[in-house]
Amino acid sequence: MDSDCLSLLPAVCLVLADPKQSPPDDTSLEKLLDWFKEMHSQSNEQVLLQHQPCFKEFISSVCTSKTTDPAILSFTLKLTGLLACTKQGFHLLEVGGLLVCVFEREAWFVCDLWEDASVRSGWLQGLLNMLKHRQALDFICGNGLLKVILQLQNDGSLFVACLANQLLVHILNFLTSSNMTNGSDAVESRESSLSPDWVSVSSEIMNGVVEALSSDDHPRVLQGLRLLSSVPSQCGEPIRSTLWKDVLVPLEVLINRGSESLTQPLMTVLQAAVRTPLLGQSEYKVEELLEAMLGSGNKNESFQCAALTIKLEKCPEGLKRKAIDIVLLPLQCVSAQSQDTAEKMNLALKEQLSQKASCISHLMQSLSSLEELAYTKYQFEGISIHSVTSSVVLLLRICSGHYPSSLIQNNASTHLIGCCKVQRCGLDTLGALSVYEENMNIRKDIFGVLLDYLKSPDSHATVLKKTYQATVSWIAVCSPFPDLLQFISHDLFPVLKKRMCDLRWEVRDSTLEFITQLTVALNGNSGFIEALHTSGMVSILLSSLADSEGYVRASAVAVVGEAVDSFLHHTVLVSKSNLLEEALKQMMTILSQDTEGFPRRAVVKAFTSWLKGSHLVTAVHPFLSSVLSLGCNDFDWEVKMHTLELAEVLMEKTLTCCPYAVQNFGSSEKELMQALSKLKEFGLFDLLFNSLFDCDRPVCAKGRWEF
């Protein structure tokens, strides 16, 4: 196919170079370039250019044309770069002076074209494509193109400026790469110093960065910071440390100036530096700079910096502690219950908390940082995790409007009542804080606030979902406590019963999911299982199987599956209930009649899970052939996939004398025949044969694999 395409190439080039033809859209030009790139990587390096002289003609005609379209010129620049990325290609193009003709914009017949951003972008991309060998760098530096690249760093077009930055980083990186050092001593030379030939190149770029950072022009500073943030990770020594030394002074000035709009880019730079050996060396002042960024915690950006600092992978401990102190301030301020605590808060923070937007953003930073720390089970020093958790609980109470009157009055509470954003974030954090054993003695408070959220008629569906997640985390860690069962059966179950009848299907769905998770988490807890089956929950679960919403029915199937499973562990309960019969009856109805795929998939999954366990094998046997046949003929390919999984488990369970199983190698043939005939009775072979010819590829593959 490629050879056919190549034969068309001269004609394509002619069309592209013809100014009378309207240029094709960018996408097709990009696709063409992608194809060239692929061809280039596959073929012997020089083949393309040598065997396709049309390229040179095309490039030359575009550059000398007086009516070139910007899109075609941009394409040509990128193409030329691509063709010149090998030494041979570069040489072929350089010989005829074509390279200069392409990249020297003074050589173009239409100078105005430079005004077009796509042309500038193509020019940079071309150079970037080309910069794979030393000659290319010689070409760039020798023709004074570096100055142009530095200028383009401040281009009006963001794409161009970004590309210029990328190219400059690439040049710096290239200076220390093996391409420049030729041979085995590459590593050493990279580590030690730069070849004197290239010192001027690197200093020109570095001076550009220093100038940009010292500039009063905000966009220029931003570009400088962007370049700087790429250097530590992408460039090796000595470029990294040299550049860092150069920019240290302007960087300090910028940090001390404390401009809010620069916080994020400055932190990105510092984040990049933290990941390198620069961090450990005092002369590079990385830690000092980070500390300066944090300031005293009274500026708006301090909180953002603190939140970012906490996220740093290799953050020095002292700095992290300071950041934690700062980031928790808004949370402590809002939930201050004594005048003493309130007075400690600085005025600037109070002012920020009195404005809705900054109040919510600061609290979100506090909460998400706390959540992040909790995930790593960070051991706080000087702060009691107990009091932090209580603050989160109090904040959640403020958000629901049920806060104690002892709370110091501030405007923040007015902004927070009913604020779903903070509620969700707070609940996530509260869930994460369950890892700390110290919190066990305030579990009553925690379950109290969670219950309030579950009860509240105003809780948004997403807030309820988060409440369920947090509740599961806490229940999982509190399972050894005897008062947990009391809470579940007396407080939680009545609320869940009501939520299963909620007007919003999302709430019904997440409630059922929650009960599933709860049943899984407390599966071994006989008290829980007894409470589940004697509290009237099961009848509501069964009625949820007929919910009007497919997703809810699917979740109901899952939870009923779990309930049945847990139930069968308790022989005392089994005799008193017809749960299994009722569940099987309704599930079979769903599998055969439900119009939506989710509930049907859930039914097959429930059977698979039952089959995997040991209790239900005999009880479900009479239904298996129907399940396999219904699953096999289902319109939904995922139902078929799940049916094949069920078949797989069935085979495992039945073929205890499988000839391929080493441990059963000696089993008699008779037993095998019996097992196979049993599988045949279930209709398993029909299922497998049908799946082999299924129109859905994954089903076919799975069927084939099972065979």
């Binding site: 409007g401 806060y403 009157s405 709370l407 009055q409 509470s413 007015t414 009542i417 509240s456 008629p457 105003d458 809780s459 019963k497 009501k498 939520r499 009848c501 909620d502 007007l503 919003r504 299907w505 009237g536 009848s539 509501i540 009625s543 007929a546 919910d547 009007s548 919403e549």
Partner: protein, 658 residues
Amino acid sequence: MKLYCLSGHPTLPCNVLKFKSTTIMLDCGLDTTAALSFLPLPLVHSPRLSKLPGWVSKDGAINLEKELKECSGRVFVDSQPEFCLPEKELLDLSTIDVILISNYHCMMALPYITEHTGFTGTVYATEPTLQIGRLLMEELVTFMERVPKAHAASCWKNKDIQRLLPSPLKDAADVWSWRTCYSMSEVNSALSKVQLVGYSQKVELFGAVLVTPLSSGYSLGSSNWIIQSHYEKVSYVSGSSLLTTHPQPMEQGSLKNSDVLILTGLTQIPTANPDGMLGEFCSNLSMTIRGGGNVLVPCYSSGVIYDLLECLYQFMDSANLGSTPFYFISPVANSSLEFSQIFAEWLCQNKQSKVYLPEPPFPHAELIQTNKLKHYPSIHGDFSSEFRQPCVVFTGHPSLRFGDVVHFMELWGKSGLNTIIFTEPDFSYLDALAPYQPLAMKCVYCPIDTRLNFHQVSKLLKDIQPLHVVCPEPYTQPPPAQAHRSDLMLELQPPPMAYRRCSVLGLPFRRRYERIQLLPELAKSLVPSEIKPGVSVATVSAVLQSKDNKHVLQPVPKPAPVPPSKKRKRVMEEPPEVLNPKPLLSGAVPLEPFLATLHKNGIMEVKVEETADGHILHLQAEDVLIQLEEDGTHIICDNNEPLRTALRDLVLRFLQKL
């Protein structure tokens, strides 16, 4: 301008506004919470209620066995329930010119005001307000008249006795103003005084003010009112809603630029969001039905019930409860359901457009057609034979003191499977349930109040920017149970003027202008002279005619020609003597030129003193003072009339004459 506050209840207001020469009553709400002090009126003989012990004080000194009964640890009055009327003594109700009604819940005291007080005015209300208000009154009368009581209890109201009674009877206020329900003939007579108005219709009251009803979005036909003269505007906001329910949305734009905004009828449950409550209602209902129990919803026969039925119409099928019957039992159930379907023009756009399809605007029509919703005038008759359980019953009265609901409380109260769901916010559900204790049935409180909450009202006030706001006192402080919730009160600049029952407020603005019409022939005769660019003045001699609060300047009639006869004319018929008016002066006396003129006229010794308003010139030799001020010049010159005249003429040289 004054406001007389006859009711302190924030959502059942009754205020009287004296504005220009008119006396306007704004709503006449009836506070029915007084009924909670009375024993329920059972529709079917209740052995429990009939055997209650009478109350005797502990020392046996007071024996009110016949009037007061002890029930479930509380003392109730065993008599026809009574209601707390608006204050009648604060002003003479016969002087009221008009009554403006904002919605059907705020007119229930109308017969008490219009009958037997000498009231001769007109009541203005929209058609749905009148018709549904009539239904509610009719229902109330039927509830009372169905279960007559032989004796009326009044001894307990005696001050000396009342203070010795147990709470809450001891603390009941104004018990002497409590009255039993009116009769149907009084209702008919009161409603015959109603004149119907449409939204944005301008009604002129005695030529003095214009009143206009605006849609308030709360209930069918509910309105806010604008009361305005040419130069003043008072807005009356009562029971408004910004939620999308069945009525036409609230019109806000016309409330802008008010001098005074009287704000009443905010939500009674500011912490309960109606959507959340509707969700609670549905889930509790569904849970009870699934558990095999019945649901009792004590409610008014119009209003939120339409939204509840609509919500249930969608919910029941999705919750798989499609076969559960709903019963709506009220003497006016049928009319209420039918009226709601015919007031299409008063409904929200979505429902209005259904009428053109044509489809009934509310889905309860379909519920009735499919026999899912059945309505009966009473529990007697067809209902008892068709009644099927488990079911949902909507019936009144929400106070649980009278109406068919009393029977259901007696019937279902003993089973824990059943649930009573309170949706009306007017009564404390614990007080309502007090005579039924101990109660096994579950109680759920889901008050659905769609009226404005504090957040919405703050936003509304920011938009419409009235100069002054007048509101009931409870709106100026957080609710007593949540004293720290400063978000549940009105915080305005300037602070709102708060009123309570019996307050008389002088509204904080003075009328400064009155519009007078100039007849064209008089206008033609005017000779304007420009006193400064863009401002011309002219003197007018005319006769001011004031009639029906309209003022017209007419030309002075010419004196009749002297009749040829020498008969003496009657003095009375002589036209008024028209004197040539003295010229009017304008302009200012400039100091320096005036001093120069004085000098020229031989007055040399002038001492000039600067004052706050201008200058005082002391003519020392003549001992005369001339005060030159912005709006007046005074020459103080004792016993020298020629000098005074001379000085006056000098002053006049500098002024323009009209």
